[in-house]
Amino acid sequence: MAHRTIIHIDMDAFFASVEQQCNPGLRGKPIGVVGRGGRTVVTTASYEARARGVKTGMNKVEAKRCCPDIIFVETNNARYTDTCAQFVCLCRQFTPLVEVFSVDEVFLDVTGSLRLFGSAQAIARQIQQKIFHTFGLTCSAGIGPNKLIAKLGSGLHKPNGLVEIPRGAVPELLENLPVGALCGIGRKTEQKLAQMGITTCGRLGRTDPGVLRQRFGIIGELLFHMGRGEDDGPVVPLEETPAPKSVGHSMTLKRDITCRGLIAFHLLRLSEMVGRRTRNSGFSGKTVALTIRYKDFSTFTKRRSVSAPIRETRDIYHAAKNILSSIRLDQAVRLLGLSLSNLVGEPRQLPLFPDAQRRRDVTRAMDAVNNKFGDFTLTWANLRLLEERAGIISPAWRPDGVRKIVF
């Protein structure tokens, strides 16, 4: 692949920074952004809170223990997702090749923009200035020959940092860098590599790829290249993102439940959420997967395929209930997840029976009302008994397409 120049932009403590910008009374104070409801975790902590040991994923009790004067702020997903959509537009002023990696991170391939804007550093600085001027927020930028190195760079000097790692500097940088510092190597892979005596990227890049393939399968080859700082993955703009393989939603329940009737209520809500997004995106699916997490955090997923593609809420719900009835619940349930995969286009077959046609017409009418006035404006009577929950923004969220969830 020809030499590329990639920039990674990472918003600094994004959710917390947005809340501090919104509310001057929170500026300079330790804050933790949390979900709604009692059983929630810190999704982002401000730098003031991080300095006191507060980490993402801590529950409120743990966070309070680290930082007794922490202020908890409820999440406002519409603020963050709209800000993301705006800063993506801002980045597109410099190149059309902008990939949304998550709600607060983007990659830019500026290889073709350097002649117009001068240098990657100049582009990154301009983006930082524009983001600060528009939103009052800071971001950190990493510049490198590929996405892996650019992302490594943005994390080296936060907040409001700008780090460029030239191609020639990559081997020296990676030599003693812990493998866990690379994006894509999580704790489990890090532990398995440590068992092989591989703790640094330098060592990883010198390991025989055959040995890595034997231990890790097909990703062994990828790990070898990562250890050497090699990554020829392209920057994929939104419009070229491949179609999703599944549509799913999950929810942490307000309290652990054992009652199957109550679980069924929540499954109906999840079925409606999955069904609506599937229908709005023009898909149907043949495999329903139910995920259950028990109160001890043990988690499992059970799948069932149906004979014909489905997209109606009732059909998804019945398939989910069938899966549930085949499971013996060993403990109280903490989290439920539902997804539809094996996606195909809209079904062309007209329903054979009047009843089925009527149900389809009802769904179409409900979707039309909810599309106009908002989700769950018109819904199943049972769901009125359930409280609304503010969802967490999934890492798969994107500002457009089927992965765009409106909060």
Binding site: C22, N23, G25, A78, D82, F135, N371, K372, F373, G374
Partner: protein
């Protein structure tokens, strides 16, 4: 503490090339002058778009929303800073 309201309010605003900028609004019989717009964002509810403005009069934070199709303003929330 945040108090959620979603109540219709009268707002004085300036329409510029860059959009709409609220300057004051009426609340509890008082005319509240906006000292600073601290943040703004868009929210979709169904097909409707709401433009939100987090504003402060120096002591209290307010969330004002404007719905362009209906030319209506709402006070969504109030929070002491």
């Amino acid at each position: 503490m945040v108090v959620f309201l979603h109540t219709t309010v009268s707002v004085g605003a300036v329409f510029k090339h860059s959009g709409v900028v609220p300057r004051w609004f009426g609340y509890r019989g008082r005319k509240i002058a906006i000292q600073e717009i601290t943040y703004s964002w868009k929210e979709k509810r169904g097909e409707s778009t709401f433009l939100h403005f987090a504003v402060t009069d120096g002591t209290t934070l307010y969330d004002l929303s404007f719905q362009p199709e209906r030319l209506s303003w709402h006070l969504e929330a109030v929070e002491d800073t």
